[in-house]
Symmetry: C2
Subunit: 84 residues, 2 copies
DNA sequence: TAAAAATACTCCATAGGTATTTTAT
DNA sequence: ATAAAATACCTATGGAGTATTTTTA
């Protein structure tokens, strides 16, 4: 389970929209779809479901999003203070 | 900055011994040396210094180890509960 | 001289891209 | 008819291995 995939998922979860998330992340949409799929396989649990043309979060997807809301900022705070 | 490298560093930091850490992690010693080096480049700060035949942590290495002590268990707790 | 880490390569897995197809409004 | 996601395929980067060379107690 790698950080980048967790960050990717978090962005998708916030926007509930794969294409917009991909734009924000500056990657192609299929790359993002694949990354989420691979995370779902790693965790062995679905994170997204199609709802209409867009996507929605599964129950575990919501849980993971909430966890990441706490964890990701802690990780971002790890880096040595950047130059002024 | 990827999780695996942070976990690798954490193991090295705990043991203060690259070869033993590599054994614990079931990877080859040069692979671990490279991973740490690449993390140091990403963070743009040294984490390890040679001390005698072994290694020791830099000031930032100690700081990072302490941060990871808190963060890594939170990440491990993310995974959906495993079957009994 | 022996134990540990660093360097030099080689290889392969996968992250990411483009093109296209499927799904649903 | 159009917007979004999924699938198919290809490529290149870097993670990991083996072999070897420093380093130092």
């Amino acid at each position: 389970m790698e950080l980048q995939k967790l960050r990717y998922f978090y962005k998708v979860a916030c926007l509930e929209h794969v294409t917009k998330a991909a734009e924000d992340l500056n990657i192609a949409q299929p790359a993002l779809t694949q990354a989420i799929k691979s995370l779902e396989e790693e965790l062995d649990v679905p994170l997204l479901v199609k709802r209409g043309r867009n996507i929605a979060l599964t129950e575990y997807g919501v849980y993971l999003k909430n966890k990441l809301e706490v964890i990701l900022p802690q990780i971002d705070a790890i880096a040595p203070s950047s130059p002024c």
